[in-house]
C-alpha cells in the first residue's frame, strides 16, 4: 500500500471512499476474467473533480490507475496490475439529461446498461448495445470496451452510439471529446477513445445516442440437424439482403444446459438452434419472417417456433442470455472465448473448434452472435482436475489462431485486455502496433492509465506483473 497516495486520496475524496482493506483489495483485484491482479488502493469518486484528483494523485506518486465500472469484462481490461489504484466509477450513476426528440442522453459512466434503457422506455427509446451482461455492466465499461451484444447486428456496436464524452486524462485535464453536434471540429477523438480499454483516460460523462423501439418485433427459433446447416442458414439470410435485429446460435450441449435451467421447451435433440429476431414496420417484418422461414426450411430446419407473445419472446431471450449461467449444471468453471470470423467461414471454424476441444479432451458449448460471425466457444471444465488449465489455455490459443487464419479478428466485443495482448501480432505487424501505441502516447504520455494491456510490450517476457511501472513505450 502506498501511504502517501492513500493520504492524498483521502484528502481529495473522503476516508470512507478510499479503501485499502484486504476484502476490498481482493474484490477489486480482478474483473470477470480468469486473470488475477493486485489492487493497491480502491477509491470511489462521486464527481469529475474527484476522478481528476484521484488521477492527479496517482500520477504524482507514479502509481498506475485503472478505471473500473461493474467489473464484468472478460479479457482482464479492468484487472489492476502492479498494485494499481482502482478508480471505481459505480457511484457515478446518474442519468443527467435526456433529449427524447433528438434521441440522446448524457449519463455518468456508472449507469448500468439496462437501467439506461429502462429509464428511456417511456419515450419509446432504448440504448442499442445490449451485451449479455447488460443487467450489470456499466455504460463506462461499454465505452471502454466498445461493447457489442446480440442486437448490434443491425444497430452497430457502442462506437456507433456514443456522440461525446467528458474524459479525465492522465495529465489531470478534463476534455470533452465529440459533441451532440454531428461534425465536431478536428479529429474524431471520441471515436479514438471508445474501445481504448481505459488506457487513454477515464470517461466521466457520456453522451449516448438512443434508438427508437421497433413498432413490431418477431422472434423465432429454428432447429437444425447439423451445426453446418444452421451456420449456412445464417449466411443465406444475410446474402438475401436482410439484416435481422439479431441472429444468434446455440449448439446442442448449450441448448440442453439452458433447457434444464429455464424449461422453455427448447429442442434438446437438435444439433443447433438459431434464434432470429426481426424488428421494424409490420409489412417489411412479415415479409422478412416469411423469407427467413423459407431459407431455414431450405437448409433443413426441423421446426420453426415463432414467439406468440411478449412472454414467450422474453423466455426465448432468457435462454440465450442466461446460457453462461446454465453451464454451471455441467461443470463448475468455464472459459469464454470471443473471436470473429467471416460468416461464410462459420461452418469450417466451428468444425475446427470442436476438433480442437476433442483433442484437448475438453467440453465445448457454442452460443454466439452468428449474424456477426462472432464466435463464443465456451470451454467448460472443473479446475480441480490436475492439468486442466493448461489444456484450456492451449485449446483457447488454437481457437484464436484458427479464427484469425480464417480471415477473422482476435476479439469481437470482449476486448484485448491482458487475455489477447500477446496475440496482437497475429493480426498486426510492428508498424501497425506502433501506430496504435502512438495513439496511446498522445492520450496518455505518462503511461500510467491502465498499463500493460492491449499492446504487447516490446520484448515482453509474458510475466506482466514484473514489468516495471512506467516502462511503456
Amino acid at each position: 500500500m502506498n501511504a502517501a497516495l492513500v493520504a492524498d486520496l483521502t484528502a481529495a475524496l473522503s476516508a470512507d471512499r478510499v479503501r485499502t482493506g484486504t476484502t476490498e483489495l481482493g474484490l477489486y483485484g480482478r474483473d470477470a476474467s480468469n486473470f488475477p491482479g493486485s489492487a493497491g488502493v480502491v477509491c470511489f469518486p462521486l464527481t469529475t473533480a474527484e476522478v481528476q484528483a484521484a488521477v492527479v494523485a496517482a500520477v504524482r506518486h507514479g502509481v498506475p490507475f485503472v478505471a473500473r465500472g461493474s467489473g464484468t469484462g472478460l479479457a482482464g481490461g479492468a484487472t489492476p496490475l502492479d498494485h494499481a489504484l482502482v478508480i471505481a466509477l459505480t457511484k457515478m450513476d446518474a442519468v443527467l439529461s435526456v433529449d427524447p426528440v433528438n434521441r440522446f442522453a448524457w449519463v455518468e459512466p456508472g449507469v448500468l446498461n439496462l437501467d439506461l434503457t429502462r429509464q428511456v422506455t417511456k419515450y419509446g427509446l432504448h440504448f442499442a448495445p445490449d451485451p449479455s451482461s447488460q443487467q450489470s455492466c456499466s455504460i463506462g465499461g461499454n465505452v471502454a470496451n466498445n461493447s457489442g451484444g446480440p442486437h448490434c447486428l443491425s444497430d452497430g456496436v457502442t462506437a456507433s452510439h456514443v456522440l461525446a464524452m467528458e474524459v479525465v486524462l492522465s495529465d489531470g485535464s478534463v476534455v470533452v471529446l465529440g459533441g451532440d453536434e454531428p461534425e465536431p471540429a478536428g479529429l474524431d477523438l471520441r471515436g479514438a477513445f471508445v474501445g481504448s480499454e481505459g488506457m487513454f483516460g477515464i470517461a466521466t460523462k457520456v453522451c449516448v445516442r438512443l434508438t427508437q423501439n421497433a413498432p413490431a418485433v418477431r422472434t423465432m427459433l429454428m432447429d437444425f440437424e447439423t451445426v453446418e446447416a444452421g451456420a449456412q442458414t445464417v449466411s443465406a439470410i444475410i446474402a438475401a439482403g436482410m439484416v435481422p435485429a439479431a441472429l444468434e446460435m446455440m449448439d446442442q450441449l448449450c441448448v440442453q444446459a439452458v433447457e434444464a435451467y429455464i424449461h422453455a421447451g427448447l429442442p434438446v435433440d437438435a444439433a443447433a438452434v438459431l434464434l432470429v429476431e426481426v424488428a421494424g414496420l409490420p409489412h417489411g417484418l412479415e415479409a422478412d419472417v416469411a423469407r427467413i422461414v423459407e431459407i431455414g426450411m431450405a437448409h433443413g430446419a426441423g421446426t420453426v417456433r415463432i414467439a406468440q407473445d411478449e412472454a414467450e419472446r422474453a423466455l426465448l431471450w432468457k435462454g440465450r442470455k442466461t446460457a453462461f449461467g446454465a453451464i454451471a449444471r455441467i461443470k463448475p468453471n468455464y472459459y469464454l472465448h470471443d473471436t470473429v470470423v467471416p460468416r461464410r467461414m462459420l461452418p469450417e471454424v466451428l468444425r475446427q473448434v470442436y476438433a480442437i476441444c476433442r483433442r484437448h479432451d475438453l467440453l465445448v458449448m457454442n452460443v454466439f452472435h452468428a449474424g456477426d460471425g462472432n464466435l463464443h466457444p465456451l470451454l467448460v471444465f472443473d479446475k480441480r482436475e490436475p492439468g486442466v488449465m493448461e489444456r484450456v489455455h492451449a485449446a483457447g490459443e488454437e481457437i484464436v489462431r484458427a479464427s484469425v487464419a480464417a480471415g477473422g479478428v482476435l476479439s469481437g466485443e470482449h476486448g484485448i485486455g491482458i487475455e489477447k495482448r500477446d496475440f496482437m501480432p497475429l493480426m498486426f505487424g510492428p508498424a501497425d502496433l506502433a501506430a496504435q501505441a502512438a495513439m496511446r502516447a498522445a492520450f496518455d504520455p505518462s503511461g500510467l492509465a491502465n498499463p500493460f494491456k492491449v499492446l504487447p510490450s516490446p520484448g515482453a517476457c509474458g510475466d506482466v506483473q514484473h514489468v516495471p511501472a512506467g516502462a511503456w513505450v
Binding site: V176, G179, L187, D188, L189, R344, A431, A435
Partner: protein, 285 residues
Amino acid sequence: MDLTEFAAAVGGEGPVTISGLGTRGGPVAGVRCVHAPAGIEWVQADEMIVSCGAGTRVDELVAALAAHHQTVALPAGGTVGGALSVGHGDVRRLGYGPVRDVLLQARYVSAAGELVKAGGPTVKNVSGFDLCRLLVGSRGTLGFLGDVILRTRPLPQTSQWFTCSAGDPFDVFTKLYKPISVLWNGSQLWALLEGHPRDVAEQAAAAGLRAGSGPPALPVGSRRSVAPSTIASLTGDFVAEVGVGIVHHVDPWLRPVGDDRAATLAIAIRDQFDPGRRLNPGLDV
C-alpha cells in the same frame, strides 16, 4: 499501381500532398502530389463488405455494389479516399449513419513512408485501438489512405421522397420510424423513407406527407454542424438535416471556438503520427 508503389511514391521525406478527383478541396498547392491506387479489389456481398483502392470513384463503387443489391453509405462524387478523409456524410446520414461507421479496415502510408494497417475485415472488431475512426475526417494529416474495406448495406425495396408544409419539423420527425432523411427549410419539410412499399406508404400517410421530389437544392454558403435541438430557431435561407444537426446555409459561418484542450490533444496525435507535418502540410483539420 499497387500499395507498395504507392508507399514508395509517398516516401518518407519532404512535403507531399494527395489528390483524388479534387471534388473535396483538392491537393495542397505547390506541394508534390501523389494519387492512391484505384479499383475495386473484391465485393463479398454475403459478408456485406467491399475492398477497394482509396482512389476508386465513389460512383463506380456504388454502381458495382448495386449489381449485388447493396450500396455503401458514402456521399456521391469524388473518390472513396476523399470521402473518408473529409468524413462528411450526405443527407441520408440520419438513416445510414455517419461516414466514420463505414470504414472497417484501412491500409495507409504513414509519414515515415511505411504501410500501416488499421482495423480489420469484420464489422464487429475490438482488436486493439480504433485507428480507423481517427483516420476518417483526418484529411490525410495522419496518413494517406491506400486501400480500404468498407461495410455495405442492402438496397431498400422502395426508396421515396415525400414532402409537406411544416412550421415545426419535429411534429413530423417524431411520427416517423427510422426515416432515412428529414430535411426542413423553415416552412417545408422533405422526408426520405425506405423499406417495404406498404410500410413506406402507411408511414407517409400517418405523418401527413405527400409524395414529392427530393432532396431540395442545398444552399452552399456554409455547412454548419449544430446541436440538432437548435435547428428550430434557425433563420435565413437554409436546409437543415432534422435529427442530425447539419445545416446547409446560404450565409458563411464562423464555427464557435471548441474545446481548446481537445485541440491540444489533436496536436499531440499529429505530433505522434507526423511530427514533421509533411503530409498535406498546412492543412488544418
